[in-house]
């Protein structure tokens, strides 16, 4: 954590919570601080820092995979009026949560 180029040490804009299965790609960390102005920037920051996450979060067309839910605090970003362009503030939390579903048929 002594990297002087790492401004995250001084300015932690917001936190992204990582679900258990994706911690393989974040060196086991369950939450990642990122500096970003929008939801989309935050996700880009995350995959830049942890490239292994990219294919798990985004489909080939660059859109979030259908089963990957991203919540800004308690709101699904798909239902925010500005979607990924939604501005974020330092107290915001983004949570990545893959869907839990199934059925016997």
């Amino acid at each position: 954590m002594t990297n002087k180029n790492n401004k995250k040490n001084y300015w932690r804009d917001m936190t992204i919570h990582i679900p258990t299965p994706l911690r393989t790609y974040t060196n086991g960390l369950d939450s990642i601080p990122v500096t970003a102005g929008t939801v989309g920037d935050a996700l880009q920051e995350l995959v830049t820092a942890y490239p292994g996450l990219k294919g798990n979060l985004f489909a080939a067309d660059g859109k979030l995979r259908s089963f990957v839910n991203v919540y800004l605090n308690e709101e699904d970003i798909r239902y925010l009026s500005e979607k990924e362009a939604t501005p974020t503030t330092p107290t915001d939390e983004l949570t990545i949560i893959p869907s839990i579903a199934g059925g016997c048929r």
Partner: protein
């Protein structure tokens, strides 16, 4: 391997009785240690698939976020999920594997026959991603607490 207290094991089976003929679902909180998913607590969740609750389940992401937050406060992680198969074998279905995305987590399935919990099995979701994921039969170790009053 899945390691779970007898009381939690009974509770998740009982949940299947309560929701019968609909599928129940819930979350297993605990720790993953050396390939063993150790359950410390189970949390019942609502099934949002009211359109087809007899053969489908889905946990609302916002409910999951709250569960995950509670878990974090206790230094626990989500280590698995459970659901029931009303009058259907305790085996994963094509829908179950298609909609399973939590690699490394245990998926516990209980057959509920005529309203009574029957066989319970656990399946570990393995692989590195969507392309190669698969379910592996997973042994369940049931712990009986020493000095338990019932």
């Amino acid at each position: 391997m899945l390691r779970i207290q007898f009381s939690d094991y009974e509770a998740l089976r009982e949940h299947g009785r309560q929701t019968y003929p609909h599928e129940c679902c819930g979350v297993l909180l605990g720790r993953s240690v050396d390939g063993v998913n150790e359950v410390e607590e189970i949390v019942e969740a609502g099934n949002t698939r009211t359109d087809s609750a007899h053969n489908r389940y889905n946990i609302a992401p916002v409910e999951l976020i709250r569960i995950q937050r509670q878990a974090r406060a206790k230094s626990l992680d989500i280590v698995g999920f459970y659901h029931s198969h009303p009058d259907h074998p305790a085996q994963w279905s094509a829908t179950d594997i298609a909609e399973a995305h939590w690699l490394g987590c245990s998926y516990v399935i209980t057959k509920v026959a005529d309203g009574k919990p029957d066989v319970t099995n656990s399946f570990l979701l393995r692989g590195t991603g969507e392309e190669d994921k698969f379910f592996e039969d997973e042994p369940i170790e049931i712990l009986v607490a020493v000095g338990a009053s019932k």
